[in-house]
Amino acid sequence: MREIPSSVIREAAVRLIYEASYRIGPDIEAAIRAGIGRERSAAARGVLEQIAESYEIARAESVAICQDTGMAVFFFEIGQEVHIIGPFEEAVNDAVREAYRDGYLRKSVVAEPMFERVNTGDNTPAVIHMRLVPGDRIHILFTPKGFGSENMSRIRMFPPAAGVEGMKRFVIETVAEAGPNPCPPVIVGVGVGGTFEQAALTAKRMTARPVGSHNADPRYAALEDELLAAINRLGVGPAGIGGATTALAVNIDYRPTHIAGMPVAVNMCCHCARHAETTL
């Protein structure tokens, strides 16, 4: 049994929040710069250049890449031989409170969604997903989510007969209809199979998979490439003003599902697909 004090988790979480909020991943920055060379219109190039320059400023000055610093979403993989000393959820929420205050990040959470909608003032509570895994380590992935793109996400419970064609049409349609709203170029996270909530969670996890990586299953990897090409033929383009770079990546994963169903969840993420991870 390995003991990890909850304060260690809190400190790690604070560092991850800063890292993700100020520093865009090199994979995304490279993809944005590659897009500049592909655009034919000066306006589309101008948009990508602004984005790349903005990333640089955020990194150099330690300011938020985007003002919507999102809901604080964490994926924890906790080794079953770890004993956490002290309150776990409190440690994570304390980290959010501290980092969003001291890091000049925007507080964007309301306590109740329909009647009062009063801001909690400290961006808590965090959204915490957890899995128990073998071993004695803790892996933390922080992936804050802005709602410009979250609001454009969709899930549909397809019958199995919808098949690959149904899934493809749904993904392309979702990106096309979202158009300029989710701040393209986007990263499209897709979860196929599982149950209703598992499909959504899988899609969310896929928004944090590196740009340029592929699913290990060659059939799914081929689908990723095919869908990325089809989406980029839509012409939505950077900021939705027309162009070649509508999406930087389509990341798909699947889960075993029921004999009667084929859920498909599409989690839209803007180019500011912020994430940072660490292992304790």
Binding site: Q50, Y55, V63, R106, C183, R233, G235, C270
Partner: protein
Amino acid sequence: MNEKRIRLPLTRETARTLRAGETVLLTGSIYTGRDAAHKRLIQLLDEGKPLPIDVKDQVIYYVGPAPASPGHAVGSAGPTTSYRMDSYAPRLIELGLTGMIGKGKRNQAVIDAMKRYGAVYFGAVGGAAALIARRIKKSEVVCYEDLGSEAIHRFEIEDFPAIVLIDSEGGNLYETGPAAYRAEIEDEAQ
């Protein structure tokens, strides 16, 4: 790129000269407002009360900035998605609002009001928030301080980069831009 420099306030006459697709640099003062502030403004109008700001010839930027760190006028300040203001915007345009800055599609009622009264919808680049913040030189709260980041602020901006998305004749870059790209690649495929 050859951007058009525009000094604010934006008169209806100037607004009517702008065309979808033009890139502009805005200098002068603008107001900020998001859902919550708009809701309050429209409530006042419904009650027949005066607004805390005069919107004539003004531009409203749909933004909720991050808190300013020391040495900066504002924190990162990119646009928020505009459709959430669609049910409020026509009333303000009727009162003389000539410009909105945001991102994303608008509904027909907003476009109709823009055509009727002469107003422009500008786009700022979503997610270029750190760069945009550098073009905001001053920020002060005008009203609704209790809304925090969503309070109505007055920003002094200098060379704020924007694109005319929808013009006062209904020209819409969100339609023409992607269509032009599709036509180009189809031509090449033939």
